[in-house]
Symmetry: C2
Subunit: 421 residues, 2 copies
Amino acid sequence: MQENYFQSNAPLAGKGLPAGDAWTPSTLAARGASILDEDVSLPAAVLSESALRHNLAWMREFADAYGCRLAPHGKTTMSPALFRMQLDAGAWGITLATAPQTQAAHTHGVRKVLLANQLVGKGNFDLIADLQARDPDFWFACVVDSVDNVAALARHFGARGQRIRVMLEIGSEGGRTGVRDESQARAVLDEIARWPDAVALVGVEVYEGVVKDEAGVRALLRRTLAQWQAIHAAGGFAETPALLSGAGSAWFDVVAEEFAALAGHPAADVVLRPGCYLTHDVGIYRDAAERIHAANPVARRMGRGLKPALRLWAHVQSLPEPGRAIVGLGKRDAAFDAGFPLPALRHRPGDTTPVDAPAHWRVGAMMDQHAFLQIEAGDDLKVGDLLCFDISHPCLTFDKWRHLLVVDDAHRVVGAIDTHF
Amino acid sequence: MQENYFQSNAPLAGKGLPAGDAWTPSTLAARGASILDEDVSLPAAVLSESALRHNLAWMREFADAYGCRLAPHGKTTMSPALFRMQLDAGAWGITLATAPQTQAAHTHGVRKVLLANQLVGKGNFDLIADLQARDPDFWFACVVDSVDNVAALARHFGARGQRIRVMLEIGSEGGRTGVRDESQARAVLDEIARWPDAVALVGVEVYEGVVKDEAGVRALLRRTLAQWQAIHAAGGFAETPALLSGAGSAWFDVVAEEFAALAGHPAADVVLRPGCYLTHDVGIYRDAAERIHAANPVARRMGRGLKPALRLWAHVQSLPEPGRAIVGLGKRDAAFDAGFPLPALRHRPGDTTPVDAPAHWRVGAMMDQHAFLQIEAGDDLKVGDLLCFDISHPCLTFDKWRHLLVVDDAHRVVGAIDTHF
């Protein structure tokens, strides 16, 4: 039997639920609530089960074609149910950004975490050291880009009789973290070598997403690959296979292409870390997908690409003047840093099915709890109508919800997932 | 004994806690964690207890001076502990923006809610009708600005044998919700009058915060006051006293001044609804406070104004190139829509006390989990240093945290509050 990831006994509370107390994903599924019948308090965030499953299979096929492993970035969703779905679909591990995210994932059964970020500060060291002390089977590595951070990690984990796995992070001038040049890399590697009992170098990592053009991305990836090869040649890795890891959600095709040089290498694991593929969007990541489908032969061969799986439903709450609808959907409900939500469907209570939203409907501004929708005089829109919005930037939409409903293609609730931000 | 609002047995989890499991506000307080000693995983959000108590007393004194009641906007914090603190300090009730917020507040003991927003959709009607059915002492009113919404409310609450309290919302051309003119107001009032058993008109409401200049704000407030007086003169209110309510966090002084016309009126309750005063900020609301202190005689007489009570602590995680520090604080941790967080303090582990951050340190960009801090070559900053940030826009900072630590003036944790977004 296929596991149902969207039913559980986790208590749910807050916005986006039907009336009544003490919902869990399982009781919600049993309730059989319908978005179209207004059974749910809006605004609500919904995930399309069919689109999630499509995207899951799509990325697995893509990574397999390049002989890459997947460690999906879990910071996007911070949802244990989705982590389990990804791991069951063959993911090598889960990527995370912070120690508390790691703790949450471990609590929910994740046993292999790549922290694609520096681990800094005693409070965060303690969180990870506690997990390692409690669970000898827990595999964890973080990235390093400074001598001071390596030394601090070494002192802390060494004092607890532990060894911390680290990956050298390669960065680019004007970018985010990561060593900028060979001399910085050398200094960090030398510091790692000073602490063989406390620090284990297990790979090389890069986040290419801060580079804006393909040529720059490829140059950075080649530098990263060369660094891996140099360390490998010098016998500098403490574990085999050693990791070579890159890829956010925008350039994973280029990373797969460049790192394919190590595919099948017995001493290497190439690990891709996209996070947003699971829900996709109709904004920044649709733009990225269009580039990928135009440029990447594997993606082209696979045909239909990723599908947007995350949507928001909200009510028209006021039509106060011509050309303006006020919608009960705000900055507290949706990402707004990479384009506002886009109206996709309009549903009138009592109707059987929703209709497509006219292309000229546009959110022009948002406040904490409201969206200002630009419409035209004569548009068929009433106070009380339901609007379904596509979104841009899943990460900053997920973190506005303590749970998201999972729906079938008829907008019926088939379960829910909770989030642990 | 003064109640301790910051200790409770609510389970806490997630970011911004010390290592160890199963924290509650009470066990945290007993632990006596120190931010400066790095006992807490960063980033962490902290509230200054002394600043909170100062702001609470300040606003009470201000409202008392004008004979106004306070219904602090609870959407800002969505924290039952802070609601209780506000109610114990004499607040008339709590203002909220949505039905699920109302449900959460009611669950935690709030018995009087002014929904400064339209209540729309069957899912939301049911949430409120369930509360009214379960708790006859629960006082709730929402605002209305359309015939369709009044009719929908009347049908739903009437069918359940209930009456829903509503306030007519006055709005301005180019603004958000609210009737724009006399003919819209008339239509809504006529519709309310059609449903005497199901809809009770209990006041007039305005949100002046969408108007940008003082003259416009005053004109809108005078229209609102005139509307209240006209309805009162016609015997149109269903309850006495009838409410006249306005004020977000930026213009509460002007609202108090204009609505002072009804102070002491036996048939009127003037209700102010600021939300951000409790934590204040160093951005949009500091700007507003400067105007208030320059213009309002009561505020001037009171001397010291509101204090920023909400701050964020984070680590310097990388110093990858001259002039740039990467800080472990992102869009997931802080509001970024009204200015980025501002560095206030720098603390080096091992030092006794923090030092002021140089005025030229500025956050120039943020990503989901990172801030890009602009510094100068030669600045005394190391990987692993702690930075304390002031913020702009408390609402969109609170909703990024499931709990916030409460600290004393020495940055020791004295408790915590949980949030219910």
